[in-house]
Each structure stands twice: as structure tokens, then as C-alpha cells.
């Protein structure tokens, strides 16, 4: 049978559960956020929880059914109030309130003498139940039978095992309830103290130094949480000697921290929070600092000239690849020099899956360029143009090749006269454009003979800007009938072919 007060509490609890709790009733909005950051920075920054829930943790309302924290109803003291006794304990594993170790909850039970009546907590967000839940964990005060055990008045919290903290009163037989691991109250113990002494940038890392300790465990190491731009990087233990801190506060232990965290180039805000390892309203934000991480020196582009070949009468063909690791997915440019003289910049952009595979990059980084070049041997130099950090455009390869000058010309006309075919045209070898060369004549596929040029062709000289006499007019005695004549220009330069410059069909009359 429930008492009148119990029925009242349970009724109010049900009502509150539906209506929700007025958050402004105990803290203003901005203050809640500030307190939340101080109490539970990871919970507040990382999880999608409200500031309200971060201050008192989960299930803070009477309707949630849990028992209140003792400090909330006992003048801020994390101890059993009068007319109650320690009845048992449980633990929640991996508690952030204890730096990652187990957190212990010790129930203070009422006696069955009626001194306590069931009600809801008031005055803070810890509005959990007071002296309502008739329950006993059963490891402490074993001399008090269950028949004399009243409801749980409240609970104490600690990071120290109860069989040590309350030796002789509590046994080490354990019980576990991890669902309570995220519950707390603003009044539980003292917050940690500390200082964020400095943040020094070195390359792409930031060295964070300072000290922190928890007054509730002044000789124990604690941990600090480091966040960069509001994103948690990690929890780091204290443990560096800080004799100055020990002297100042009259404590023992190693409370310094010296942590190095990585950061990308740019301006960042580094925040350090001391983690609460015992009681207290939670973690303490030690401070935040702005740091500027300079961009890395950058990397120069790399590449390779795969081949340099000459194209007869045309120029030089240069093939290879290049990319800049600072912008590995983008095409860059290469600068091509011929015999030490700049020709032009050319974009890469040809697919080179072999390069992409070798360097594990995307993009099209090949090039296949033809530059003009006079006949003869030339050298080529290729530079990759830097597109990211670093200074200079590195030479990625050189090569040389000969541009062959093959003769060329034209068979202008072939006419037949009585017993003779006459072939007229012109031919030049660019390897010596002023000199006459020879042409070979084939009639119906059979060689007839080799004949010199030497006829004046001012039209040809004008067209090609050359001198000399490059015309030919060759009479070929032939039997009457239809004949096909082919004329080849004879090369006078480096090894090369004698190209066909024309064919004509000529009807030779009798």
C-alpha cells in the first residue's frame, strides 16, 4: 500500500513525464550551456544531447524513477544524510566521470522508522526520487536486516571502490548497472583545477602543456581532454612532474600534461578540459587558445619524358607525363625548350592510367606534344610547371632526335609526242635546298633512269623561299601507246627514303 506522499510523488512523476520539465526553472539558457560545457564537454560537444541533460546526465526527473544524488539533498555533501545508512553499492563501467574507470554508486537507505517520506528532489536539475524506492543492493551494513531497511534516500558517488572507501562497512561483492553511468548532479564533489599554460605550433602539430588535478583526489593523476575547433581529439593523462603546482597547492603527485596533437594548416582553437575523476559538478574547461598552423613547404611536381622523336619535315614529338602532388587530381602544364630556347607551355591532360596506378592519383597527366623544328638534330628539355606549394619548376627530362629532311616535289605534267613522253615538274631536298637533286623515272613499273633537276622554277623558289634550279623536263622515248610514269625524288641528306612525287598516264602517239 502506498502512503499519501508516495501516491503524490508518483502522480506528480507521471504528470511531469508527460509535460516535460521547465529547463528555465533552475538555470537560464546561456548558463545551462556554460555549465554543460564544464560538466561534460564530450557529452555536450559530441552527442546530440541538450545542455540540460548534460548537467544532470540522463534520467534526471522524478518520473524517470531513479534515486536522487545525496549532495542534492544533503547540503552539498556527498554523504548519507542523518537517519540513513549505507545499504549497498553498484558500479557503472568505463565512466567518464572517473576518467574511464568504474564509477561507484553507494545507496543510503532509510530505516523503517518513518523519518523519511517519499518526495521528488528540488532546487537543481537533479529532481530524482528521495526515499521512495524500497530497494537494497545488499553489500554494506550487513548487520541491519532487511526488515529494518527503508527506501533509498539518496546515493553517494565515488571513483574509489566502496570496499576501500568504506572498509569494514561494505564488502567487495559487486553488482553492475551501466545504465546509470551517465547520471550525475551539479553538486557531486569538487571540479578539477588546472591551467592551460601554452599551445606551441611546430610544423603540423600543436604542443599543449599545462597541469590539472582533482581536489577530490589530489594525489591521483587525472586526464585532460583536448579539442581542436570544438572536435575532441582525445583524452590524455596527466603524469608529468610539476613541483611548482605541488608546492602551490600542498599536494603530491605528477599533475603536468604535455600533449602533442596534429592540426591542418590554418587558424585553430585548441581547448583543454580537465576531466573530473571523483565528485564535483563535472569537468573543468581550463581554457582555449588560438593557434596558426602554417601550410607545409609543399611538393614540387614530378614527371618524366618518355620519348623524343623527329617527324620528317615537320618537327619533334615529345611524350611523357607530369603532375603536382599538391594538386594530384589536376592537370598541370609543362614548358618545352628546344636547343635551350623556350618553345611554349603545353597542358597535360592525356590519360595515363599507368601513372595514376603507380602514384594512386586521379586525373589525366600525360602529354604528347609536337613542336616545330628544322631538319637536323635537336635537343629538347621539359620542365613541369609547379601548381602547388614549393618553389621552382623542375626539369623532368631531356631528349634529342634528328628531324629528317626528305626530298619533295611535284610531277606537274606528262605529255606524249611522236615516240616520246615528256615529264615536267620540280623536286627539292631540304637538307640542301639550293642544290639540284636527281629524280628517278619509272615507266609502267620499270626503271627508266635517273635525271638531274636544274631547270629554273622561280615559282617554286618563291613559294619555299629558296634559291637554286629545281625544275625538270625529261623526254622519255617510248613506244606508241598508253604508259604510266612514276617519278621519285632522290634523297641527298641523312638516310631516308626517296619519296614518290607524282605519277602520270601518258598516251604516246606513233
Amino acid at each position: 500500500m502506498q502512503s499519501i506522499s508516495e501516491r503524490l510523488v508518483n502522480g506528480l512523476s507521471r504528470k511531469a513525464k508527460h509535460a516535460g520539465t521547465d529547463r528555465r526553472s533552475f538555470l537560464g539558457g546561456a548558463a545551462v550551456v556554460g555549465a554543460a560545457l564544464a560538466v561534460n564537454p564530450w557529452g555536450f560537444l559530441v552527442r546530440p544531447a541538450s545542455a540540460y541533460s548534460a548537467v544532470c546526465g540522463t534520467a534526471p526527473n522524478c518520473a524517470d524513477g531513479y534515486s536522487v544524488f545525496c549532495c542534492s539533498i544533503n547540503g552539498g555533501n556527498n554523504s548519507c544524510p542523518p537517519d540513513s545508512f549505507i545499504g549497498g553499492w553498484w558500479k557503472a563501467d568505463s565512466s567518464s566521470f572517473c576518467g574511464g574507470s568504474a564509477r561507484y554508486y553507494i545507496d543510503c537507505n532509510a530505516f523503517r522508522d518513518g523519518h523519511w517520506t517519499c518526495h521528488c528532489g528540488q532546487g537543481s536539475c537533479d529532481q530524482r526520487r528521495v526515499a521512495c524506492n524500497q530497494f537494497r543492493y545488499g553489500q554494506c551494513s550487513l548487520h541491519i536486516p532487511y526488515s529494518q531497511t527503508g527506501p533509498v534516500v539518496c546515493r553517494i558517488v565515488s571513483c574509489t571502490p566502496p570496499w576501500q572507501q568504506y572498509a569494514g562497512l561494505c564488502t567487495s561483492s559487486s553488482a553492475t548497472d551501466n545504465s546509470t553511468g551517465t547520471q550525475t548532479a551539479p553538486c557531486v564533489g569538487q571540479p578539477p583545477k588546472g591551467s592551460f599554460d601554452g599551445a606551441v605550433v611546430s610544423g603540423s602539430s600543436v604542443r599543449v602543456t599545462g597541469w590539472a588535478y582533482d581536489p577530490d583526489r589530489p594525489t591521483s593523476a587525472t586526464a585532460v581532454a583536448v579539442a581542436v575547433d570544438g572536435v575532441g581529439v582525445g583524452n590524455f593523462p596527466t603524469g608529468r612532474p610539476r613541483a611548482d603546482v605541488n608546492r602551490a597547492f600542498g599536494i603530491d603527485g605528477d599533475h603536468g600534461f604535455d600533449v602533442t596533437v596534429a592540426a591542418r594548416p590554418g587558424v585553430h582553437t585548441v581547448a583543454v578540459t580537465a576531466l573530473n575523476v571523483a565528485g564535483g559538478p563535472g569537468n573543468s574547461l581550463l581554457g582555449s587558445r588560438h593557434v596558426t598552423v602554417a601550410p607545409p613547404p609543399g611538393r614540387l611536381p614530378i614527371g618524366r619524358v618518355d620519348s623524343v622523336t623527329g617527324s620528317p619535315n615537320t618537327g619533334m614529338r615529345v611524350r611523357g607525363w607530369a603532375f603536382d602532388a599538391d594538386v594530384p587530381g589536376s592537370a598541370i602544364k609543362v614548358a618545352v625548350y628546344r636547343d635551350g630556347v623556350g618553345v611554349a607551355w603545353f597542358p597535360t591532360g592525356r590519360p595515363r592510367p599507368d601513372v595514376n596506378s603507380a602514384y594512386r592519383i586521379a586525373g589525366a597527366h600525360g602529354f604528347d606534344i609536337t613542336i616545330p623544328a628544322a631538319t637536323g638534330r635537336h635537343t629538347v628539355q621539359v620542365y613541369a610547371i609547379n601548381a602547388g606549394g614549393g618553389r621552382g619548376n623542375p626539369l623532368i627530362g631531356t631528349g634529342s632526335a634528328a628531324v629528317l629532311g626528305l626530298p619533295f616535289g611535284h610531277l606537274d605534267i606528262g605529255v606524249g609526242h611522236s615516240g616520246t613522253a615528256v615529264l615536267r615538274g620540280w623536286a627539292i631536298d631540304p637538307d640542301n635546298s639550293a642544290a639540284p637533286i636527281a629524280v628517278e623515272v619509272y615507266r609502267d613499273g620499270l626503271g627508266v633512269g635517273r635525271f638531274p633537276t636544274g631547270g629554273l622554277r622561280p615559282d617554286v623558289n618563291l613559294a619555299y623561299g629558296i634559291r637554286g634550279a629545281h625544275g625538270f623536263e625529261i623526254p622519255i622515248r617510248s613506244a606508241p601507246g598508253r604508259h604510266t610514269f612514276a617519278v621519285h625524288a632522290i634523297n641527298i641528306g641523312p638516310a631516308g627514303s626517296n619519296p614518290l612525287i607524282g605519277t602520270r598516264t601518258v598516251v604516246v602517239p606513233a
Binding site: 502506498q2 508516495e6 508518483n10 512523476s13 513525464k17 518520473a63 524517470d64 524513477g65 553498484w90 558500479k91 563501467d93 568505463s94 572517473c98 576518467g99 574511464g100 574507470s101 568504474a102 521512495c132 524506492n133 524500497q134 530497494f135 545488499g138 551494513s141 550487513l142 548487520h143 536486516p145 532487511y146 527506501p151 571502490p161 570496499w163 576501500q164 564488502t171 567487495s172 561483492s173 559487486s174 553488482a175 553492475t176 548497472d177 545504465s179 594525489t219 591521483s220 593523476a221 587525472t222 586526464a223 575532441g232 581529439v233 582525445g234 583524452n235 590524455f236 593523462p237 596527466t238 603524469g239 608529468r240 605528477d254 604535455d258 600533449v259 602533442t260 596533437v261 596534429a262 575523476v277
Partner: protein, 200 residues
């Protein structure tokens, strides 16, 4: 067809039809609680007791290695003695549960019953709390909406401390609906009677 039987830690349960059960004991922590390992140190240094402080580690950009490290005292400290725990229920038991049924009782329907029986250490033998007699026979009047570890609307609970075969136990029973206490108590007794304790 015989009912399935669970046996572990000197406790046997012949599961009634349509019920679920578990018998387990949590592992004993190995790390000593000392000032030297109160911080987030590596298990290797913590397990051997007080040692020189380890140097803070330089984390990677993600900090994953440091964030993911398990505290040596994450699951408690050396000296802790977890006892055998029996959970029986008329509904599917979730994987993650507190020893007194948190995580499970929240999913009970009005027709369900949950039972937890926790064993405590031998130091409890003969004490006023545990020498109160043998295992109880449950009656509807034992149950109270405030007799719960955590009050949940509609439910009621009852708790008993007793010693059986020289082993101290706490029995905790939750009814999904206090209004059905009469009927649910019968179910609870079926569950309770399914448990047999052996002497160690």
C-alpha cells in the same frame, strides 16, 4: 519433451516453457586501485601496480588510438568479487542488462515477469541481512510499486535476502503490471521454483 536446463556456477535452471534465462558471472577485474594507475594509463603498467608515470602519447590526427584505449579500471578494480547472477524472464532478454535487470525491465509488458537472483560473497553468511531464512514463497502482497530498483509506471517489485545451501542470495522480482499481481505472482513462483542451488 524435457524443459531445457541451464547450469552454471553451481546453479541449475529448468526453464519453463516460453521463458528465457541466463546464468552468468562477470569477470574479476585485475588492475589494482593505486594512485599510480588512477589516470588513463595503459593496462600493462596498471596491472603491475605503482610504476613511474608513463609519458603522454602523441596522438594521430584522429586521436583514435588514445581515445580508444581502455582504462585499466574500466570494469572495476582488483579485489572486487562478482557473484553468480540468474536472470529469468517471460520475455526476450536483451543482451545488455544490469545485474538487477536494468535494460530488461524497461521492455516488459503488463503480462511479463522478471526475476533476478544474485549471489554474494561468503562474508555475508550469518549476517543479519542474509540469515533471515530460506528462499521465500512469493505472495501478491510482497509486491509494491515502490519496491523497485527503478520505479517504472505500472510495475511492482519485491526483494528478499536469504541463504540457501550456505550461499547468500538476493532475490529481486519485477511484475510487469501490479494490477495483475495475483496472476503474475504465480508466474513468478514458477520461475523461482525452476531454480535449484547446489552447495559449493
Amino acid at each position: 519433451m524435457n524443459a531445457p536446463e541451464l547450469t552454471a556456477h553451481g546453479i541449475a535452471v529448468r526453464l519453463p516453457a516460453g521463458c528465457e534465462g541466463r546464468i552468468y558471472r562477470r569477470p574479476e577485474p585485475l588492475a589494482a586501485f593505486t594512485p599510480a594507475n588512477r589516470g588513463a594509463r595503459s593496462p600493462a603498467t596498471a596491472a603491475t601496480g605503482p610504476t613511474a608515470p608513463t609519458a603522454p602519447t602523441a596522438p594521430t590526427a584522429s586521436g583514435g588510438a588514445t581515445v580508444g584505449r581502455t582504462h585499466p579500471g574500466a570494469a572495476g578494480w582488483l579485489g572486487e568479487r562478482p557473484g553468480a547472477v540468474v536472470h529469468l524472464a517471460t520475455f526476450a532478454l536483451p543482451v545488455v542488462r544490469g545485474d538487477y535487470g536494468s535494460g530488461a525491465v524497461e521492455s516488459m509488458t503488463a503480462r511479463d515477469v522478471f526475476l533476478a537472483m544474485l549471489e554474494f560473497g561468503p562474508e555475508c553468511l550469518g549476517t543479519a541481512l542474509y540469515r533471515t531464512g530460506s528462499r521465500p514463497r512469493l505472495r501478491p502482497e510482497h509486491f509494491d510499486p515502490n519496491g523497485l530498483q527503478r520505479r517504472i509506471a505500472g510495475q511492482s517489485g519485491a526483494q528478499f535476502f536469504f541463504t540457501e545451501r550456505n550461499r547468500p542470495f538476493c532475490l529481486y522480482v519485477v511484475l510487469g503490471s501490479h494490477r495483475r499481481a495475483e496472476e503474475a505472482t504465480e508466474q513468478a513462483n514458477v520461475l523461482l521454483n525452476a531454480i535449484s542451488v547446489q552447495a559449493l
